[in-house]
Symmetry: C2
Subunit: 328 residues, 2 copies
Amino acid sequence: MGEFSLIQAVFTRRAAAMLATQPDSLVALGIGDDCALLNRLSSDEQMAISTDMFVEGTHFFPGVAARDIGHKALAVNLSDLAAMGAKPIGFTLALALPQADESFLHELANGLFELAQIHHCPLIGGDTTRGPLSICITVFGRVKRQQALRRGAARVGQRLWVSGQLGGAALAVQQLYANQTPPATALASLLRPAPQVFLGLALNGLASSAIDLSDGLYGDLRHIATASQVNVEIDLNRLPIDPLLEGLPFDAAMALALCGGDDYQLAFTCDDSASQTVSALSQSLQLRLTPIGKVVAKSAAPQVICLGPGAVPLSATWHQQLSAYEHF
Amino acid sequence: MGEFSLIQAVFTRRAAAMLATQPDSLVALGIGDDCALLNRLSSDEQMAISTDMFVEGTHFFPGVAARDIGHKALAVNLSDLAAMGAKPIGFTLALALPQADESFLHELANGLFELAQIHHCPLIGGDTTRGPLSICITVFGRVKRQQALRRGAARVGQRLWVSGQLGGAALAVQQLYANQTPPATALASLLRPAPQVFLGLALNGLASSAIDLSDGLYGDLRHIATASQVNVEIDLNRLPIDPLLEGLPFDAAMALALCGGDDYQLAFTCDDSASQTVSALSQSLQLRLTPIGKVVAKSAAPQVICLGPGAVPLSATWHQQLSAYEHF
């Protein structure tokens, strides 16, 4: 484990340096003891916690730059905090590595710490071990009690919004599997998604439910529909698809935009009365926010209904084909 | 991911069932949303957090029973809480699996949940993914502010104690590498260590520093010595070695007891005035607690000094050989 001690030293030093620049942090003790210690939250807060495992071959293609791996491993976790409307406190990192490759490790750390710095989310604990390359991050955030954006809080009549644009990451995945070189912007969507932490914070008290798009809009909206026991209707003509999808046939573009994961945008529901505020938010965050549908009815068999050309509901067969595509 | 949904359903159902039986829990929201939610601590508490990655081939021999894997993956994390004197709140589980083997998964869950139940530590969040078998657990606990048992809090003149007995797990590892069948008690020490959570809690306010023995007594005491900037002296004649080691030559037994990891006992330092209380604790917990040495002096070059037969300090060469054995 001698070589691994060196790795730990790199991460520990960078973590300590970053922690020292976070004066209003809840972190009472960072890396170096049996546990990290956090001070308690304010009286109106809860702690939000999420964990994700990131494995070579499953979550990223072999050969992806270490810096991108570091960025994305933290981004997907921060995205879960964003979907809850939580503000980052810190994260732990458990790392399995086949060997101690110093330049790989430094670049991995660069990707992690650059994103951590943006979101004031210091590394507070870790573990390094020998094994097939995988990264497990657990992230902690703080959120106002009663204001966490729950999947089960969508209400009938609310408008459904989505941030950013959809399908670029899925296009990159499709092309990489076909041994093609994706356009740079699609590759950037896949490799360096920006977790919508600032949006999540702004939606506190404004939106009722939210989810981050990790599996794809269609599947993730089904999670909201199921948890809230409602039907959700989306108008596909309004989807903010990535410009790269615009030349594709309708069904192909929709498959990518609806079933492609890795967008890490937020979908959320708001009362109609909040629409102007949401639009103003779009301006201030310089982030596209698009109303794409609504919560239409309570339902014991919740579903997501897609409206196609002419705003006409697409057939049951069309929806079934979409589900089949999802499992591909 | 269809088969993996079934796995998640098994863990989610068991987690929810267990959570329902923890009425005074801090857990406001368990598995099923983007994040888990915890209520805030009491005013005199801090949160302790630790994470560990557990990889097949590195941390456990291929073919080890799934139930034992589940037990140990959680045990090593709970052991970190114990070493801080923290009371478990809950844990997250990220699991990579090469395939969805239902009976393996049920047994893994059995091992995890049986231990979780003992320590009232519910599963509150998770992630399942395809990949080489590995388990990453992050565990959360609560500890009285100012009473966390820090590695750096050993004071000159304090007595050094260790719980349980040492070297059984190391003997099992040695024999397994030699393709021998270890005695059942040694195997149990290796596969099913009991994290000393109750001891850790009882040491709150009694001990000043503590560490759990994951790397081996000698190396772990060096962590205490370094963090506290002190020299620590241990009398090897007093080490509570596993009875299985008693027939071995002195050096061989000491190598196992001092450098073998996986014991997950606690070493801790207490003022002399606390000795009677510690002895009473041993009675009430039905757990052997042995005074094995003391904190002898402040030191800018902290070391652990071993006293051999006749309580005479062993040579520098002897200590160097021990260090070499550690890296083996």
